[in-house]
Amino acid sequence: MPIKTVYNAQIEHLQILDETGKLDDKLAKDTLTDEQVSYLYEQMTVCRQLDEVAFRLQRSGRMGTYPQNKGQEAAAAGSGFAAKKGVDFLVPCYRENLALFLHGLPMHYVLLHWMGDERGNQIPEGVNITPISIPIGTQMLHATGIAWAFKLRKEPRVAVTYFGDGATSEGDFHEAMNFASVLQVPCVFFCQNNHWAISVPREIQMNSETVAQKAIAYGMPTIQVDGNDLFAVYKASRDAIERARSGGGPSFIEAVTYRLGDHTTADDARRYRDQKEVEMWAARDPLVRLRKYLEKKDLWSEDRQKRLEERAKAIVQEVVKTAEGIEKPATDDIFDYTFAGELPAELQRQKATMRTSSLGQRPEQVGLHAVPERA
């Protein structure tokens, strides 16, 4: 046949908990228990509080630039909770703090990172995550490689990697997706489409109707979910993770969400986006929605909320205290992690003298105060 269709594809969108807090019971079956939902709601609230405090820390000069996660907590919670703590491996960017905390990262690490301290990246033994990643779109390749190692060693483990809508424009995104699909590694690509990459809206970041369809290029299973819906995020993530674990290869998830705050504390989003849009999305706030749901199910009360908020404040206060209580790193740290083992001679010299030129650092040169005869 001279014209024939050789390929067909479609993208599904999944929502389980709608904006009014109404749950689709059929789809919600075998997802989260009441207890788990309450737990995650609490965690999300703590994270929101961390954001508020971090913002103030930056404003008062006690911390550098900080990117709020505000509005995206359901995406981080649902996906992070779907991955097995201590088994699976998270490879984040910087807008899924809660996923990291759910996998055991002490909260003050995140603050330390943004306080300009590498020890915020010194992930404790047993916590299976990579540090917060600043360069956009590069970490998905590491996730693919980590997942590849799991496959080679026949370990039933999965790598989950996070990135934004903007990150999908980078060449490394493409290469990571392609490698993962060709090698059929257990990796889940979790895109937080929060509609903005700093000031660039999704529509001029890409010309496709969905982000999810990018996975079609690689023949990779893909889905679009309501990213402010904890249930939908959890279900899609769990399915993708378990498919990967059982040898079914990588998947892509587009979580449609919204960055309620500025890009970072260095940004002023009012310069480029409409307040109306922000308000529309504020109404879809994942915390608000979840609380409505909990209230509807009589799992929540004004009183519990008050106590939660107080607890969140106390927790975050403690975290700030811990982070700020950590002494400035030793200058030696600049040198000591460049290589394993003994430093090369020149680096030892630089460290010992805090000098970069060897002039004056060698016994025969020190103390020469007159122009000498030539040798």
């Binding site: 001029i204 260095a266 030129s357």
Partner: protein, 332 residues
């Protein structure tokens, strides 16, 4: 754009000066287009392109997708097709993904096509440390691009130089990397001509004359050098040279000074090994060997990864380290 009250009264910051050069070149030549991440409505994360989209429209000041190789590669295509693109890379750390297009394509097209195809573009890149930024926002990769034939590399340290050099860069028929020391972006103001002017690429500037020691620097560290001169207790006469252009190097200017003083200190932020300091020192010992009274001394970043900001001031050359170097060179 007409200058603000503030600018008229107190002068222009480095950011203002670059903005003014961009504005004037876009007025003058409609082949000039700006492209990059957040350069449009947002005016760039440092506001260097502020107001330009409003004035010249979204076709000439273009917010691109988040992809540095894409920015560089399409800018090359624009230039090949007769435009004068001025791509912005948001921070020098993100030149990494654009490295291949810059070094293997932009730099080589004139040579590989024997002049048939050329790439007149100016790549603007904020550079250097000292502003408490996150990782990969504080490096100084100028030596890497100086090593690549076919590229010109510029790094002004003052508003006056920035305006004149950027104007030259945009008019240059070949690719120029224009590094903007972000530590200086708003650190002071300077009264500079409102009308357009150019400063030739490839000419160093004597910041202060002297006869005992030559000190060479560029970008933000020029100001650490000035601070060091203030602190220098001894009565030593130091000639401070601001290189302004990284490549081609103004060999005559530095050698002339080195021959006069016989003692040289070079200061830069980048790691020592294979930094530009090495090239300068080697040129000086090649050309001024018989005049040198002491080894050329380098004060640079260490050969370690640029630390996060809690330790960045320990890493970056500061007045104390520079003073020490000057004293040692003087005493050698």
């Amino acid at each position: 754009m007409p200058r603000s009250e503030m600018m008229i009264e107190k002068g222009l910051t480095l950011v203002d000066a670059i903005n003014e050069a961009l504005y004037q070149e876009m007025e003058r030549d409609d082949r000039v287009v700006i492209l990059g991440e957040d350069v449009g409505l947002n005016g760039g994360v440092f506001r260097v392109t502020d107001g330009l989209q409003k004035r010249f429209g979204p076709d000439r000041v273009v917010d691109t997708p988040l992809a540095e190789s894409g920015i560089m590669g399409t800018a090359i295509g624009l230039a090949m097709a007769g435009m004068r693109p001025v791509p912005e890379i948001q921070f020098e750390g993100f030149l990494g993904p654009a490295f291949d297009q810059l070094v293997n394509h932009a730099a080589r097209y004139r040579t590989r096509s024997r002049g048939a195809i050329t790439v007149p573009m100016t790549v603007r890149v904020p550079v250097g440390g000292g502003i408490h930024a996150p990782e990969l926002h504080s490096d100084s990769p100028e030596a890497i691009y100086a090593h690549q034939p076919g590229l010109k590399v510029v790094m002004p340290s003052t508003p006056y130089d920035a305006k004149g050099l950027l104007t030259s860069a945009i008019r240059d028929p070949d690719p120029v990397i224009f590094f903007e020391p972000k530590r200086v972006y708003r650190s002071f103001r300077e009264h500079i001509p409102e009308e357009e002017y150019t400063i030739p690429i490839g000419q160093a500037k004597v910041v202060s004359e002297g006869s005992d020691i030559t000190m060479i620097s560029w970008g933000a560290t020029v100001f650490q050098c000035l601070e060091a001169l203030d602190q220098l207790p001894e009565d030593v006469s130091v000639e401070l040279i601001d290189l302004r252009t990284i490549d081609p190097i103004d060999e005559d200017a530095i050698c002339q000074s080195a021959e006069k003083t016989g003692r040289v200190v070079i200061v830069h932020e980048a790691p020592k090994t294979c930094g530009l300091g090495a090239e300068l020192a080697t040129i000086i010992q090649e050309r001024c060997f018989l005049h040198l009274e002491a080894p050329v001394q380098r004060v640079c970043g260490f050969d370690t990864v640029m630390p996060y900001y809690k330790l960045e001031l320990e890493y970056l050359p500061d007045a104390a380290r520079i003073v020490e170097a000057l004293q040692q060179v003087a005493a050698y």
